[in-house]
Subunit: 261 residues, 2 copies
């Protein structure tokens, strides 16, 4: 079995090249809460942490965000950081700033080089994605272009099209997360993952959300997803599984799949 590709950061493969990379979200409201979450999460040894800045009460001030990003950077040591503002219509928290200010926030955070990757939604204006791509490249930050559907799982062809749109946008990584309302939805997502993995040159991140989606979070890597989001302290989306459980299942699968073609 061919493993999904490792994500490259600063010329080196993330997590020493070990896939799936396990990513733990930070969703705290206050500076103290985020730092405490980081402390707990790091003790579980994730391959990267995602700061979900839409949950942060200080998001209205770019200076405050850049300052906390710097603190996270310092305390995270070698663990890479993914910086994400999730919009309300893709499952995020309401924030007091408009999209132009959001882009400026991303640009400031990239320029600070406190984070290693940034996630931006494909559903936002293309010119924003282009600006962000340039800002990320200037600072050796990787850009993840993401698509979320919290209501349902679109048909397989539509999902593959989303992956391709992410690649066309110039992103370094394509992410698709969709709600599983039935087990057939999980199979659709895994089938789309398999197809996208073959069709795209960039690494992909895929998951089903919701309790049934936990299946895809644990074995989606076998079908080509390079990253799985797992709970270090508090979850950020429905169906996330504790890091320890993901690691246990990955180890068993790796042993079982061993020399699979």
């Amino acid at each position: 079995m061919r493993d999904p590709p490792a994500i490259e950061l600063h010329g080196r493969p993330l997590g020493g090249g070990k896939v799936p990379h396990v990513c733990a979200p930070l969703v705290g409201r206050s500076r103290e809460a985020v730092l405490e979450e980081l402390r707990i999460v790091l003790s579980k040894g994730p391959d990267l942490v995602e700061w979900r800045v839409d949950g942060f009460e200080g998001i209205g001030s770019a200076a405050e965000v850049v300052r906390l990003a710097g603190e996270l950077r310092q305390r995270a040591g070698p663990t890479p950081i993914l910086f994400t503002r999730r919009s309300t219509h893709e499952g995020g928290e309401p924030i007091p700033i408009g999209e132009e200010a959001v882009i400026e926030l991303y640009e400031a955070v990239c320029a600070s080089r406190s984070v290693d990757l940034v996630d931006y939604e494909l559903s936002q204006p293309a010119e924003n994605m282009a600006r962000l791509r340039d800002a990320a490249r200037r600072s050796d930050v990787r850009l993840v272009a993401s698509f979320h559907d919290f209501q349902r799982t679109p048909p397989q062809e539509a999902l593959v099209e989303r992956f391709q749109a992410a690649e066309r946008s110039g992103a370094d990584v394509a992410k698709v997360a969709v709600m599983a309302r039935g087990l057939d939805d999980v199979l659709t997502l895994l089938g789309a993952t398999l197809k996208a993995r073959q069709a795209l040159r960039i690494p992909i991140i895929t998951m089903s959300m919701g309790p049934l989606g936990s299946l895809a979070r644990m074995f989606g890597w076998v079908f080509g997803s390079s990253v799985t989001f797992a709970i270090g302290d508090a979850g950020s989306a429905p169906g996330q599984v504790p890091i320890e459980d993901v690691r246990t299942v990955v180890e068993v699968l790796r042993r079982a799949l061993g020399d699979a073609p």
Copy 2:
């Protein structure tokens, strides 16, 4: 999430109703080897054991087979026994007796009431299946009608048709095992499992074979398969996983799926 149904034996659900039932095969050549295998396998606490009689050197003598079945029964205590002759064209060992003698062997084993289930192949003549069904009913033994393809995974509709043919044959359980040559084959098998689970009234057993198939052996129960075959001592088909590993993954999945719809 609705669990697949437990298999009923003598009016009680197998394994206390806990699914998936984990089944460990016995494949030894000599009486001593089979008994030693049973000892090792029982220490892992499987929900049932399958005696693959086509591997047994004494298969030419019905009396010898019935005698060993009785010994297995005595030593297995409360653990149910599935009795299976797998033919060479469905992955079994060559045997020195013809199909009429095989049916008489099954009839003698049923009459001895030393086993709880018998497996017979759908590809054999329908009148044999009917004779075996009657013999099984007379002795309160459950009949598993099975289909194997060691070369490939047929399309989903063809697989569902195999399940339905098993139900039409009057079997108590329908089993389908097919070779996974790629990950798309695993998705096809799981999709067929989901459909068959909805279409059939009897419990089903499904699996993909080969290293990639180990995926379906570990989470096929989520899609509706009531039994998974796992290695207690020696495996009987490609892609089988140790009992301990199956149990570990099932536990994690059960926690993760918890209250899934």
